[in-house]
Amino acid sequence: MNGHVTETRLKSIINLHAALPQADLRRGDSIIISSTKLALGESLQIGWLGLQIIKINLSEQTPTRIINSLGFVFAGFYMGSFDPLRRPSGLPTNFVSLSGPNVKLMSPFTKRSFAGPDIVTLIVVNNTIDTDVEVMLCGSMKLYTKS
């Protein structure tokens, strides 16, 4: 890990961005931010993942959650057979979750990697059945290709 990086090694590492500027996310809805297909020998490292709830109306009632163990909004990575046509179910492998107007960051000090072959999908989910929100997400990943 402390070895020097050659030009060839540097070229084999690809920075992938994930950006969702302020956007409406309706109750129970989700948005696929990125989907990365990893080949055998490739890996994907999560570098940065920040999630912000910009607007949420908490005054009228307490939102009812779909998945009780997560916040009103979460962004997370699903692996393998995630079906984008269906509502996400179950826990993502890595996630950041929020229940109020705030910013939260997945700790960038912990290295999280996915090894191929696999498909890694990052989605942001409104985990309520009755509350619309406005969210922002930003992230960055490193794709280590076969060098």
Binding site: H17, A19, P21, Q45, L105, P108, K111, M136
Partner: protein, 166 residues
């Protein structure tokens, strides 16, 4: 100049500040990105471009042409909310509280890091000859895109990047 190591590389994160072409109504603003910095992190900002693709000013007729072939549209000028900036701008704010009008706030590094577009169908860019903006403090830094007119809707796109070093 020191050589690049794997450890150094894996501690550097290129975070996007991006928006595909979007209609922003008069006087409105949106959050492009919020970077939450911890004490050991360094925020380095160098590159951002803001494109104003289209402008629709209130009260302008849409392309009526006279018999002589001249445009009959008597388009009024856009009225700027903050006259020191252009039609639209991207600026960075420290610990921005959502719903606060950016007109009432002072941006971080205003002279260097406020990217402002002054006319339609143009692209404004951060001056790459200027030194990068380096921030090292525990705070939230929010990039806002602001429509700085009180009578014009704009279609805007943003493309930029921030590097975070752990």
């Amino acid at each position: 100049m020191p050589l690049l190591t794997e450890a150094h590389l894996s501690n550097q994160h290129s975070v996007p500040v991006a928006l595909a072409l979007t209609l922003l109504k008069k006087g409105d603003w949106i959050v492009l990105n919020t970077i939450k910095l911890a004490s050991t992190m360094t925020f380095s900002f160098r590159f951002l471009q803001l494109q104003c693709a289209d402008i629709t000013v209130e009260g302008s007729s849409t392309g009526t042409v006279t018999e002589g072939g001249e445009c009959d549209c008597n388009a009024p000028d856009p009225i700027l909310i903050n006259p020191s900036n252009g039609l639209a701008y991207v600026a960075i704010y420290r610990n921005y509280s959502v719903n606060t009008d950016p007109v009432n706030l002072t941006a971080v590094g205003t002279s260097v890091d406020l990217i402002s577009v002054t006319e339609a169908a143009s692209i404004a860019s951060r001056d790459l000859t200027k030194p990068e903006l380096l921030l090292q403090e525990t705070a939230n830094f929010t990039f806002l895109l602001v429509n700085n007119t009180s009578n014009a809707d704009l279609r805007l796109a943003v493309n930029g990047e921030v590097t975070i070093s752990l």
